[in-house]
Symmetry: C2
Subunit: 257 residues, 2 copies
DNA sequence: CCGATCGAACTGGTATACCATATACTTTCG
DNA sequence: CGAAAGTATATGGTATACCAGTTCGATCGG
């Protein structure tokens, strides 16, 4: 390195501390990871986030924390009530059904695009991935199937070749994962889900965009209908207070680079 | 009011200054309005936003401005480069095609839902709205058709009854409007667009979800293909500098109440 | 006259102090 | 003893000071 970039005098080689990364981004990532990790719908009581405590815990000032909170709030993971606190949001049944509906829209489009443009190798890889779960016993695997399930859907999105689709589904998946963990244990949804997946794979292999789209949509909407029927427990009011003061808007979508 | 809520002594009736609204929200709204208003793709040079200048102009400190910027950045309207400045983002052709693709996915789902659940009155209202443009001469109306076009698509979204669909398309529409203003003047896209719209309305009236969905999708994807073919001018590099320093992620989607 | 170098001004990132209000606790009066 | 009123504390919102890196122009050397 000295040869390529000669220096007049020996200097302390510092490992190029990363510019570009800011406390805000790190705080955002940390908080989102934390929220994703905990199963939102398992905890009984409301979860409150304290700016000052967090800033103290992360070792930064409140400013980056606040900016991270702003992001999380817009993404719908958190809700801040002035002079009250910041609370982790729990979606209602209806909101979850809507999320799954949107997921159906985006995923079916992704399946269509994948059937048209995806590489054969990627489709083969997807089949191989899912085959692992068919061979093993489906008893104990069910636990980890929740993750494989997400992986399958994310693969479809990725194979669409549309980065924006990936971006817009990213946060939906976080909620999706929490929901799946619950619904997957009900009835024989895991088995049915696997069967659906293989039919979708077949449609991709057959390069049948219309069929792939339809199967993906029906698969997702099936889940939506299931939640609609059996998801009433989602609406149980964990919080005693339900005073109004609804934030006017608050539903935005990001479209960025 | 005195009767319902008796007061011991006459007090100064103050017009209930609005709590709930914060400088951040107002700054966010103002900035977004400004960005929406100006046609992003008309300006030749890069547009830079200065926190201090804005805070001075709006009469608030930098803090709310920064928080608003954080939101706008996540939504993909601006990009902040540390120690350089904040710039209004101009989408590339590819990104726009992807946006239209996502739009196609969401809108086709909306059309399906609308065909299933929308009120007859709303569908009739939609037809009436569009009929106004068929009767008049299509020459001068073309200018204002751009807005009516957006209105049509937003109506479809609304009629789906899915609030999340509305939320996720909200920002897409802002870019969409800018694009439409350009493409609408090319070929006879306005005429074709109107024809498509009427076919969609017919599908809604016929309560044919599959057909409504397909028509909506093809309508949008047709625009995508058009941009793909004739939208090369979108990629002309307005800015001389194209140094890297890519923000890692940056594509998020909001899902909130 | 031209180029390299140095520095002043500018810009976003961060820390911190202060404010207004919601909430909980304490006090006081009936 | 209980309820209402007053007070202390906590919390998010806002303003501001300071920091580090970038930009660009002035100045010095050739």
């Amino acid at each position: 390195m000295f040869d390529a970039n000669p220096r007049p005098s020996p200097t302390l080689e510092v490992p190029r501390l990363d510019t570009g990364s800011t406390f805000r981004k790190e705080a955002y990532a940390a908080l989102k990871r934390a929220i994703t990790a905990m199963d939102i719908y398992d905890h009984a009581q409301e979860i409150r986030l304290d700016e000052r405590r967090l800033s103290e815990g992360l070792g930064v000032s409140r400013t980056p924390i606040r900016e991270a909170m702003t992001l999380l709030e817009q993404e719908g993971f958190v809700r801040t009530r002035p002079r009250r606190g910041i609370f982790v949001v729990r979606k209602t049944k209806r909101e979850i059904v809507e999320m799954i509906t949107v997921m159906a829209a985006l995923e079916s489009m992704a399946a269509r695009l994948a059937a048209e443009h995806a590489a054969d190798a990627d489709i083969a890889e997807l089949r191989r991935l899912m085959a692992e779960f068919q061979t093993g016993n489906d008893g104990e695997r069910r636990a980890e199937y929740s993750d494989a399930n997400i992986a399958f859907h994310q693969a479809i999105i990725r194979m669409s070749g549309c980065a924006l689709l990936a971006g817009m589904t990213e946060n939906l998946f976080i909620h999706m994962r929490a929901i799946r963990k619950i619904t997957i244990h009900q009835e024989n949804r895991a088995a049915r889900s696997i069967a659906d997946h293989f039919r979708i794979i077949e449609a991709l292999e057959g390069r049948d965009p219309g069929r792939a789209e339809r199967l993906a949509r029906e698969h997702a909407l099936g889940l939506a209908a299931h939640v609609e029927q059996h998801g009433d427990f989602l609406d149980i009011t964990h919080n005693s207070l339900k005073n109004g003061s609804r934030s006017d808007a608050g539903m935005e979508s990001g479209v960025s680079k």
